[in-house]
Symmetry: C2
Subunit: 531 residues, 2 copies
């Protein structure tokens, strides 16, 4: 066993490592010079969703858009620049380049009142709408399927107020997440949510999809941190629940059902959120372990010993690291390979204390032989480099052709078993191999152990019906048998609309449908999706 070494030459520069987390929407990555780089799949024109999924039909109850409707919207918005009818690919195509809608109209209201007037009109006329934030969703939830009108929140993007004593931020839904976090950084606060798409995604969109992201382990879910919402109902009613109170026990907490409703109940136009103080110190350790059991033991020890400063606990299997090695052509942080790796991040208010806690913890888990090897970042660059071995997995998984991605929650003890189960299934179908005749390169697993959330990536040389048949509905059935969720953080959208039954019971689904019917009886809000 090797003792912890100090990381010296970190390989990838900070810029390239950080790039992944702030790549603007439309780029799958940034070059080292910061230029937008498109993945292969983006270069090819994406097929129309209507063609790829011919069994999904346009609902004839929805009205077709007419010139008089456009004239009416232009009047509401009072500015023809907010009514967009050309070059709509950005709004029609999803972030994963899988879905392509056929909308002919994008509206960009600047006020809540305008949103209200638009929705009221659409409801009366039965014009279908897709509310759209930064359009960075991963399940095709934010793009039209047919000719739905895109209601973009991007012009409704102002900070309304910030209370420096309580840390409560109020803003418009269209505020970009990174702008919110930068604003807060100046005040000594941090946004309680962070994700790869932060440079493009809207805060309102993250709330509408109940995004999880990288800070959930530390700051909890949006159900806890969002204090109030301003929403517009389908009849145009503006519900101003933009409270800035941490406690309010007067009536049902109705805003909660809007968190994660993906624009199907109403449109979120504003929010108030509780922001924690920005941590002053950050540490990252990268560990090698012999088994998934050791990963779990390390998690228990980290929770106990690092306690309040533990801010991330990510795991990766060896195959995922092999993919990254091939992709970035750099030496792995650890000299020898291990079946599993763990990245631990701590964030706290006192650097010396955090260093000491981390050191003691690492000594302890090495002594107990739970952890076999490890390395600790000594500066920001090394910290970013260590993170990059986790963050580059999605990109590395798809660069040889494509990737089948599954984002599931599972009870911790079963979490990793999904990966070999899928690998076995693919091998049994003779689809996995090192040469080009086999479509599958590898099935890799990684994710947020702290949140019970594993990402399964099946890296492939090409997309084939055989692979799809081997893993679907197998993955969903496996998750169901192990009492997991088929969507941990990505939501349902268009992609998983038909799979909710693998996670939710019939009675639960009944309640969900009941609420949808209550709030949107004409079904004009984000149709063909969710439920």
């Amino acid at each position: 066993m090797r003792r912890f070494l100090k990381l010296t030459v970190a390989g990838a520069s900070r810029a390239s490592a950080r790039a992944l987390r702030v790549a603007p929407r439309g780029c799958t990555s940034l070059t080292k010079a910061g230029q937008c780089q498109f993945a292969k799949s983006y270069a090819t024109k994406v097929a129309l969703t209507a063609d790829s999924y011919p069994y999904v039909k346009r609902d004839p109850n929805y009205k077709q858009l007419e010139d008089s409707d456009i004239a009416h919207f232009t009047e509401i918005l009072g500015d023809s620049k907010l009514v967009i009818q050309e070059d709509l690919d950005f709004y029609n195509e999803d972030y994963m380049h899988k879905y392509m809608g056929q909308s002919k109209l994008v509206l960009k209201p600047k006020t809540t009142q305008q949103v209200s007037e638009i929705i009221k009109y659409c409801n009366e006329k039965k014009l279908a709408i897709v509310p759209q934030g930064g359009n960075t969703g991963l399940v095709g939830g934010s793009v039209p399927v047919f000719d739905e009108i895109v209601l973009s929140l991007s012009s409704l993007n102002k900070i309304r107020s910030f209370d420096e004593v309580s840390g409560i931020l109020k803003a418009d839904a269209g505020l970009i997440l990174e702008n919110a976090d930068n604003f807060l950084a100046e005040k000594g606060y941090i946004f309680p949510l962070d994700l790869g798409a932060k440079g493009s995604c809207h805060v309102g969109g993250t709330i509408a999809t109940n995004a999880g992201g990288l800070r959930l382990l530390r700051y909890g879910s949006l159900h806890g941190s969002v204090l109030g919402l301003e929403t517009v109902l389908v009849d145009g009613t503006i519900v101003d629940s933009l409270h800035s109170l941490r406690k309010d026990n007067t009536g049902y907490d109705m805003k909660q059902v809007f968190i994660g409703s993906e624009g199907t109940l109403g449109v979120i136009t504003g929010f108030s959120i509780l922001c924690p103080p920005r941590p002053k110190a950050k540490n990252v350790a990268f560990l090698g372990l012999e088994s998934y059991e050791a990963v779990q033991k390390t998690f228990i020890e980290a929770k106990g010993q690092l306690g309040e400063i533990l801010s991330a606990f990510e795991f990766m299997d060896n195959k995922s690291q092999e993919l990254v090695k091939t992709y970035n052509k750099l030496d792995h942080p650890l000299e020898e390979p291990y079946p599993f790796y763990v990245l631990i991040e701590s964030s706290g208010s006192n650097k010396d204390h955090d260093d000491e806690k981390l050191e003691q913890f690492l000594e302890d888990v090495m002594e107990k032989e739970i952890v076999s090897d490890g390395i600790v970042a000594q500066d920001e660059t090394q910290l970013a480099n260590l993170w990059s071995w986790r963050e580059l997995i999605p990109e590395a998984s798809q660069h040889k052709g494509g990737v089948y991605k599954y984002d599931v929650s599972l009870p911790l003890k079963d979490l990793y078993d999904l990966i070999p189960a899928v690998e076995e299934k693919l091998k049994a179908a003779n689809l996995v191999g090192e040469t080009d005749e086999f479509p599958v390169i590898a099935s890799v697993g990684y994710g947020h152990i702290g949140d019970g959330n594993v990402h399964l990536n099946v890296a492939v040389r090409r997309y084939t019906k055989e692979i799809e048949k081997a893993i679907e509905p197998f993955v969903y059935e496996w998750v169901q048998q192990h009492h997991g969720s088929v969507s941990a953080e990505h939501g349902l959208g268009f992609q998983k609309k038909n799979y909710i039954g693998y996670t939710k019971s019939e009675n639960e689904i009944k309640l969900i449908k009941q609420l949808k019917n209550l709030y949107d009886p004409n079904g004009i809000l984000n149709p063909y999706k969710y439920i």
Copy 2:
């Protein structure tokens, strides 16, 4: 200015200080020997709610209980000991000794299936029900108003499972909070909620009322920590959403509307909750400050410097401490009086680090002259003693005759202004004085600064209509004008049913009523309350 001294003789023993927090339901306090002690108001028989509030009438749509109904319930429960028809005062009378119902029947189902059969039958027959946990609520929400059947969850109290890796606890709703926390303590975990009534209240009851309590600043609200619920709907449907996943984005998060619904939407029979690791170290400091502005500044500094270890930030005004001094006849922790006091608690995983952080913080705020004086507990006894100066305020407020209590949320900057505003109103009505001819002794303020939650206690020698007229609806109007909530953590229940409009808008109330009608069209669940 005096530097921080070490607390030496702590006055009240740990036992007496702790007693307050664990006094079993029915006692307003414990004697030093641990015996149950009843307040004056409890000795007097409480008037029937029907007599005290003659304008509230029994709804004739509800069926009167008949022998055949009781026979049916006995058959469902299969054990006549679970069907209680005598000595029902405990179930009819509320914790504050303000309300007294007239129920003739208490049912104590032992299984979720039995709960389902009971509710289904009641709904079909239009028999009104009050779901009841430990009956420690503060707004009369858990007792009948007329002859409603009491559905006690006290026999449904088993721990179902605990996952030592993830910290997820699953249990029946009737589990007593203290039992849950003791169980978790053995496993190195802590229940994310703590309150004075922990020895009697049920976890299910705390979820149904969205209780706040003493750990909210650190661990957040139940909307964030409750992962799943098992609920029984009015038609008997059992909705098993008892998920043990930290992340699940499949459909609307319907359990959220049950959190804080006070038994008006359905009955919570089970829960799963995420429990954090139990902190290993705890510190308490008690500070004296010259102004409310200094209290706010201290809060900002504490959040920044203590960061992740800050677990409580409670403030008290001088008058509240004067009342406690008169009541417990002990020397105050600080030699000289100050207009405001703050109690700061830290909880962390490393005692040395926490001590150092607290010391540095205290040196800093003293040097900046934000804090004028202070003291730090050196052991568990002193820690409990310092807490007792905060915890004894409710009891000290009412021991000279009675107390009018208001639990409100307000934006931090305005939080304390409510107290002098009320005092002025009472003085203008010539009701405040030091001698017996004046009914009011003092208006005192204290509470959870960290949560924006202030408790206003008007300590009185006797209850009079004049006082009531002077402060109601004045308090509610004041809270409304300052965008606060008329119920921060106590809920609505019977007491605040008519005041929701001071906090929620017409549109918000409409949505709440709409949901109530959807879930309970016959209105049999906890009638005459909430909305």
